[in-house]
Amino acid sequence: MFDVVKQAKGLVAHGVSACAGCGLELILRNVLDVLGEDTVVIIPPGCSALFCGFGPEAGMRLGGFQGNLENTAAMAAGVKAGLEAQGNHHTTVLAFAGDGATADIGLQSFSGMVERGDRVLYICYDNEAYMNTGIQSSSSTPMGASTTTTPAGKLTPRKDLIAIAVAHGIPYAASASVANIPDLRRKVQKARDTAGPSLIHVHAPCPTGWGYPPAKSIEVCRAAVNTGAWVLYEVEGGRTTVNVKPKELHPVADYLNLQGRFKGVPADQIERIQKSVRERYEALVDKSV
């Protein structure tokens, strides 16, 4: 065993068992660095649950609760209601869940939380499949991606989580990426200061599930932004702003070809993916003020 002689610099312990190159760890460290100690966090089972620790050891220096897979938003709403009932209107209640726990099994409780207007900062780290259970497809898995439950590639496009939240009239929703940490940190600050529910949907690269060397996590995510496969934008009070507009979108193949999960995608499907990526990007830019 090692003796820990120095406190962790941030609120996350310095030795956590995230996989090499995991984007999730980078996200959580930055999010908690912005939010500070006056934060409590609800985390469902999944990759992020490792930050709750194992047994008597916690992975964060923070109040928190590991809830169930589908009730992150409801647990967070309950915590907020309980704190407010005791006159605590300052503590940030952070819900931190993956794409499966948000867009699939947790969508109902997320919808309830947003519709009621509960002041919860909800961060969905999206690694685009059920990575913790072994890379099974979720509704956030992009078209063409091979997973253990879509071995021949996913046939349908992903769910648009931000559009779903915006359809509820959410006061603040944004996408973010580990390829642009200053943008992520600015958005966390904004979400925290929103008097109501907020959503940050962060692209969270997974070397194991996406099939690329761990050292390339940032490169892969930057390619997603540069090709328009992951658009950095925010919707504030219904107003859309695209935060990063590449001079010219790179071909989507520049992003797909970096990853093993898109290896078998036939040329005609790449064309369809290219078309839908471009159309979505242009639609967001058109809406952007």
């Binding site: 047994g55 590991q66 169930n68 409780s109 309830g112």
Partner: protein
């Protein structure tokens, strides 16, 4: 001073929840629980109750919100019935495991399928090993009293377990009865303020609750829950004694009725215990030495008291309001048999009152008559006491008409 009101069971539950000054309410409507959700909303809206009302989108979220709120150190309330409780099942176990002493009225209603709106205990019986205490009410006063007591018992640091207060759908939830209701000051003196213990969510004193736990500690955590149930047996009687001193009404984990010289005893639970007591009175007038044993606390099950109370009895039967499918008998019968295992008694299992079928005086009389026929029982065991004559042939499907 305390005063009498005409209340139905759901309103009595609401009165007790208000008396406990809950700070967060999350509720989702389901027949026959809905008026609890409505009346709590009214109480918050008109200022009678200073609480946050979270209008959730499902029972799963109702208990999740209540659990999140309770973990911050306040009393949280929700209530449910039937399939709503089934939907909560995952969080029912979660709340028990983190020792959140939530008190929750369960308005007993049959589980689908087939669809039924009416009384049956299968919903709460399906949760009997989930780590919640369960108290069953005979009448509307019980709903009020047992809910008040439930807060004290659940929150006692020797117990620290959540508690369901089970009331029969419609028979109690929608039945108006005279109920003695305490003044707020009296309720405050009895229930007291909420005090959190052990684990909580507090930014000032951070801890992570409910993380992954290895087999190295899991068994011990379950064992600690079992010690909570063990302690609950004496805490319940302490709390009931204090309740009697303050409010004058007597409650026990198990209630003997005319057992003093009884030869034949019917053990039962819920509102049908009232009918059973009435029939026992009538049979006593005819010189029959019969009695009734009412189970109030099903979890923890008062097995020592049951054995002690039935030690001189010759015949025992149990009437259950749930089917206990696939088992040798229904749930209450199984517990009674286990309690009496060393006594060598043949305990009959009767099943009745399912899906709202009325347990009438005749049904109870029929059970006592059947018990009196030594070794000539016409029924199979378990005996479906109110079964129709041709149970396998109740509907005819007409085609091409």
């Amino acid at each position: 001073m305390a005063h009498d009101k005409m209340l139905d069971g759901n309103t009595a539950a609401v009165e007790a929840i208000k008396a406990a000054r809950v700070k967060v309410i999350s509720a989702y409507p389901i027949t026959p629980q809905s008026t609890i959700a409505e009346k709590l909303a009214d109480a918050v809206a008109d200022g009678a109750l200073d609480a946050n009302y979270v209008r959730v989108e499902s029972e799963h979220s109702a208990l999740s919100v209540a659990l999140g709120a309770q973990m911050t150190g306040v009393r949280a309330a929700t209530a449910t019935a039937s399939v709503g409780l089934a939907l909560m099942h995952e969080i029912v176990n979660a709340a028990a495991g983190v020792r959140a002493p939530i008190v929750m009225p369960v308005v007993n209603r049959a589980l689908a399928s087939p669809w039924s709106l009416w009384c049956d205990h299968q919903d709460s019986m399906a949760e009997r090993d989930s780590g919640w205490m369960q108290l069953y009410c005979e009448n509307v006063q019980d709903v009020y009293d047992l809910t008040m007591c439930a807060y004290r018992i659940a929150e006692d640091c020797r117990v620290q377990l959540p508690c369901m207060v089970c009331l029969d759908g419609f028979f109690l939830s929608h039945s108006m009865q005279k109920v003695r209701v305490a003044e707020q000051a009296e309720a405050d003196a009895f229930i007291g303020p909420y005090r959190r213990h052990n684990s909580y969510i507090d930014p000032e004193d951070p801890m992570i609750v409910n993380n992954l736990t290895s087999s190295d500690e899991f068994t011990e955590m379950r064992y600690q829950q079992s010690r909570g149930f063990f302690a609950a047996e004496s805490v319940m009687e302490e709390v009931f004694a204090e309740f009697k001193e303050q409010f004058g009404r007597e409650h026990h984990m198990v209630e003997p009725y005319r057992l003093e010289d009884a030869k034949t005893v019917l053990v039962t639970i819920g509102s049908m215990a009232g009918t059973a007591k009435y029939v026992a009175d009538l049979l006593r007038e005819q010189g029959q030495r019969v009695g009734v044993l009412k189970i109030v606390s099903f979890r923890p099950f008062p097995y020592r008291q049951v054995a002690a109370l039935l030690k001189n009895v010759e015949q025992v039967a149990v009437l259950d309001r749930s089917a206990g499918l696939g088992a040798q008998g229904a749930p209450v019968w199984l517990e009674v048999c286990a309690a009496l295992q060393s006594m060598g008694l043949n305990v009959c299992s009767y099943i009745g009152g399912l899906g709202g079928r009325d347990i009438s005086m005749d049904t109870i009389r029929h059970i006592f008559e059947d018990m009196a026929q030594e070794c000539t029982q016409v029924y199979e065991n378990p005996a479906w006491i109110d079964l129709k004559e041709h149970p396998m042939n109740i509907r005819q499907v007409l085609k091409h008409v």
